[in-house]
Symmetry: C2
Subunit: 217 residues, 2 copies
């Protein structure tokens, strides 16, 4: 576990972090999480697993006045209280071209003499052809799964840092990527996460019994 991953963990009680996590929609607007800590939260988030370790996620962190105005422009009015009071809103997107990034990484390693061309080709032949020949639907689903897992870990990491969060699905999905200057054919929006110090009681929700959604075979 890299040291940088443990610096800001204030709450190390797994049960409290996980089972007392609830959505908070009103934050203390005077609390500002600095960019160093926001980056640490993301660095810790991406220890999450991903298919073939392709890490098909991307994070846009809106914490400036300009950034928050852009974020607000894609949100449904129902979610304005969060953007108006949170310290930062993190948009989690899936990267459907992560396999091209992966190719670049290993090509670079080869060019720099860190691995042989044979080793590089061996790496390339394990699963890259499956991604390079995949349908856009497959790549989108894959990127959405990776990014959603990262989003869940982010919600927990935020709590471990002493903050609260609200995962938000209510936004104009078709406008998210372009609003943030990203290629909408590459990046698929998965979630917005408002982050800050809670200024209201969390929303208490219930769940169906686990047995209702479980089948043993």
């Amino acid at each position: 576990m890299p040291t940088t991953m443990t610096t800001n963990i204030k709450n190390n009680d797994f049960k409290d972090v996980v089972f007392n996590r609830q959505s908070v929609r009103q934050f203390d607007p005077t609390v500002k999480i600095d960019r160093e800590e926001l980056q640490a939260i993301i660095d810790e988030t991406i220890s999450a697993p991903s298919a073939c370790n392709l890490q098909s996620w991307h994070f846009v962190v809106a914490d400036s006045a300009d950034g928050k105005a852009k974020a607000k422009s894609v949100l449904m009015p129902f979610n304005y209280p969060q953007i108006e009071s949170c310290s930062a809103m993190i948009f989690v997107l899936g990267d459907t071209q992560s396999h091209l990034v992966y190719r670049d990484v290993w090509n670079k390693a080869c060019e720099e003499g860190r691995i042989t061309p044979e080793k590089r080709d061996q790496i390339f032949n394990t699963f890259l052809p499956m991604y390079e020949n995949a349908s856009p639907e497959f790549l989108q689903a894959d990127a959405m799964i990776d990014s959603s897992m990262a989003a869940m870990q982010l919600l927990l990491i935020a709590r471990a840092h002493g903050y609260d969060a609200n995962p938000i699905a209510g936004y104009a999905a078709d406008k998210v990527a372009t609003t943030f200057g990203l290629d909408s054919s590459r990046y698929v929006p998965v979630m917005a996460i408002a982050l800050g110090k809670a200024a209201s009681e969390p929303i208490t929700t219930t769940r169906y019994a686990g047995t209702q959604v479980t089948a043993f075979i």
Copy 2:
């Protein structure tokens, strides 16, 4: 926090659970997790959030010889070691009809006199029309996001219970639902998770720097 949620948590060290989580592909075949604990793991998993609290997830737990044979029949050979050695393999699927379940739940509450028809209709009118008029693609994406978040929490809960896991994407996605007797037009497969006591060192993987996948605005 319900008492049932804390019974079997053996490792309450958040940093250890989260940052030392790694994929394990070989399990001790003599270790059997009983169904009570498997159900507890799922009960704890579903404290995860979901869009509109629709809880669009479903879990098929293959722990019997028959169940594991069915699971193996949809896996790629690369993932046979996990099914052959794990205590259970949990298939996480998204439920694209969770909004119909939600409607049934509130209709039942109304029929039983627990809420008035006016209150029921008020609940129904907040977001259900959006789901009932949504495209299959929207419903699938929504269910995949919910279920992927639950899958991430399941990986962590498993570790807190003292087990290890391997999230698996390598299976015949088009065969998963029907193999388990589920309606493939309703349930979308998201992930298989092998669960057990580690019998080999985990696979060590690295990540790109967080700054490479983060933009501040």
